[in-house]
C-alpha cells in the first residue's frame, strides 16, 4: 500500500526519471570503461567529484555543480597524464588520496545540514529538487547523444588502437572526449548511488553483460538493461522498504545480476 502511495507522488517519478537517464548513460559507457581498463579512473573521478561537491556546498553553489566541476577537472588531468594504463593508475591513486583528504577538510568547514555529506557519498535521489533534476536530464541526454555519435570509432579505438590510428581514427582525441563523457556520467550517477558506489552502475552491468555475449551491440544493450533494472528497481525497492537508501538496493541488484551472469554466462559466450 505504501509503495503504491509513494509511486503516485511526483518526487518518486522524478527520482525514477533521473535514475532512468543515469542508468542509460552508465550502461552505454560501462563496456568502454572495461575495454579501456578505466575502472580506477571512474573511481578516481567519482571520489574527486565528492571533493568538488564538498567545495560546492561550502561555496553555496550546491553539490551537483561542485561535483560536475570536480569531475571535469579530474577528467582533464587524467587526459593529460596520457594513455598508458599503469602510469595512469598510479597517478590517479596519488591525486585521489590527496583530493579525498581535501574533501574531508572542506566538509569540516561546512556547518550546514549534516546529512549533506553522506548524501554526496551514498546518493540522495529523493532529495533532488526540480532545478537539479533538469540539470541531470540535460547531462543524461548529452551523454546519450555523445555516446551514440562516437560509438563506432570509440569501439574501434578501444579494441584495436594501433589499427584504428592507421585507419585515421583520432584515437587520442576520442580518449579525451570519452573522459569528459565519463565525468558527466559519474556526476549524474553519484546523485543516485553516491560517489562511493558509482562503479555499481558504471562497470558492474557491463561486466555482467560481457559474461553473456561477445557481440558488441548486445553487450551494450544488456549493459543498459541491467543498469536500468538495478537503478529503477533499487528506487522502487527503497520506496517499499521505507527507511533504507536506494543505493543499497541499486548495488545489491547490480551485484546479483553479475553473479547470475557469472554462473550462467561462460557457456553462452563461447558460442559467440
Amino acid at each position: 500500500m505504501d509503495l503504491l502511495f509513494y509511486l503516485s507522488q511526483p518526487f518518486a517519478w522524478h527520482a525514477l526519471l533521473a535514475a532512468t537517464l543515469v542508468a542509460v548513460s552508465c550502461g552505454l559507457i560501462a563496456p568502454f570503461v572495461i575495454t579501456r581498463s578505466m575502472a580506477f579512473a571512474v573511481h578516481g573521478t567519482s571520489e574527486l567529484a565528492f571533493t568538488g561537491a564538498a567545495a560546492g556546498l561550502l561555496l553555496g553553489v550546491g553539490p551537483i555543480a561542485g561535483a560536475l566541476v570536480g569531475a571535469l577537472v579530474v577528467a582533464g588531468v587524467i587526459g593529460l597524464l596520457g594513455t598508458k594504463a599503469r602510469e595512469r593508475d598510479s597517478s590517479i591513486g596519488v591525486v585521489l588520496a590527496f583530493g579525498l583528504g581535501l574533501g574531508v577538510l572542506l566538509l569540516s568547514f561546512y556547518h550546514g545540514f549534516a546529512t549533506q555529506a553522506t548524501n554526496i557519498l551514498f546518493g540522495n535521489i529523493f532529495g533532488v529538487g526540480t532545478g537539479q533534476l533538469l540539470g541531470l536530464l540535460a547531462i543524461g541526454l548529452g551523454v546519450i547523444a555523445a555516446m551514440t555519435y562516437i560509438y563506432r570509432p570509440l569501439m574501434f579505438a578501444s579494441v584495436d588502437p594501433e589499427v584504428a590510428v592507421a585507419r585515421g581514427v583520432p584515437v587520442r582525441v576520442l580518449g579525451v572526449v570519452f573522459l569528459f563523457v565519463l565525468a558527466l556520467t559519474v556526476t549524474a550517477a553519484s546523485q543516485v548511488v553516491g560517489t562511493l558506489l558509482v562503479l555499481s552502475l558504471a562497470i558492474t552491468p557491463a561486466a555482467a553483460a560481457q559474461r553473456l555475449t561477445a557481440r558488441p551491440l548486445a553487450v551494450t544493450a544488456l549493459s543498459v538493461l541491467f543498469a536500468l533494472v538495478a537503478a529503477d528497481g533499487g528506487i522502487v525497492a527503497s520506496l517499499a522498504a521505507g527507511t533504507v537508501k536506494p543505493s543499497v538496493f541499486v548495488t545489491a541488484i547490480s551485484f546479483g545480476i553479475y553473479l547470475l551472469a557469472r554462473i550462467f554466462g561462460t557457456a553462452a559466450r563461447g558460442r559467440g
Partner: protein, 302 residues
Amino acid sequence: MSINLSVSSPSSVSSASSAPSVSSPQSIIRLRDASLKLGDRKLWQKLNLEVAPGEFLAVLGPNGSGKTSFLRVLLGLESLAHGAVMVADQPPRRGSEHIGYVPQQKGFDDSLPARGRDLVRFGLDGHRFGLGGGGAQRAKDAAAVAAVIREVGATAYADKPIGLLSGGEQQRLRVAQALLGRPKVLLCDEPLLSLDIAHQQAVSSLISRQRDRTDAAVVFVTHDINPILPYVDRVLYLVGERWAIGKPTDVLTSERLSELYNSRVDVLRVQGRIIVVGGDDPETMAPVHHHLDTHVDAQEGF
C-alpha cells in the same frame, strides 16, 4: 618495374640519384629523395623507390633501421625530413581508403566485447561517426563482411570472441579487415610474428593470392624473408642511413650486404632458405641483430 641495385649512402648521393630509375606513370607508391629522421637520429636517406600495382615488396633490415617507420610514412603518420612521397597519386594521409593495413598479431583480452566478425567489420565503417545506415545498408554491409571472411577462409571461427582466437586465425581476419576497402596498397607490419610455420605459410600465401586477385601492391615489413620468399618481387633492405633495393637474389648476397653493412656479412642458401650471418652494426659496432636466419621453430620472444 624499376630495379635500382645501387647501395646508397649520404656520401654517395650522386651515385644513388644518377642510378637508372624508370618512372612508370602507373606506380602506386613513389618516393623521391626521401629521408627520414626520428628525433636527432637519421634513418634511411635519399631513398628513391617506385612500387607498381600488384608488386610484392619486402622491407628488411636490422632492428631500429626504420622498417616500421617506412610504413608509418606511407600511412601518413610520420613525415619525411626531406624529399617527397606519393601513394595512389596523393600525399599520404591518415585514413586513406587506398591503404589496407595488417599489423602484427597481438594478445586480445578474453573478455573483449568483439567477435572475429566485428574485428573485420572495423575495416568497413569502424572509423565512421554517428549511426549506421538503415536496414538495407545494414544487410549489405553484413554481406560484404561475410563475403570477405569467406574469401580468407575464416568463416568457421568468425563468431568466436577475438580473445579466444589463435594467432593464425586472428591474422586471417586482419587480412580480411584490410581487404574490405578494396585497397590499392596493402601495408603489412610483421604480420607473421609469433605465428608457427604452418600459419606463416598460410597467411603469406593468402596475402599473395589477394595481391594477384586485386592487383594491390604489397609492402611487407619482416625480419624473416623465408616464409614470403616465393612471393617477393623486390627487397628493400635498410641499414642505418643506407639502403639497397632489387630482386631478392640480387640484394641478398654476401657482397651486397657486406657493402651495405660496411662489414663482413655472409649470405648462405640452405635448402631454399636464406640465412644471413655476421655483420656489425655500422653505427654502434654491436653485432647485427637481425633474423633472416630465424630457424623454423625458433620463436621470437616479443
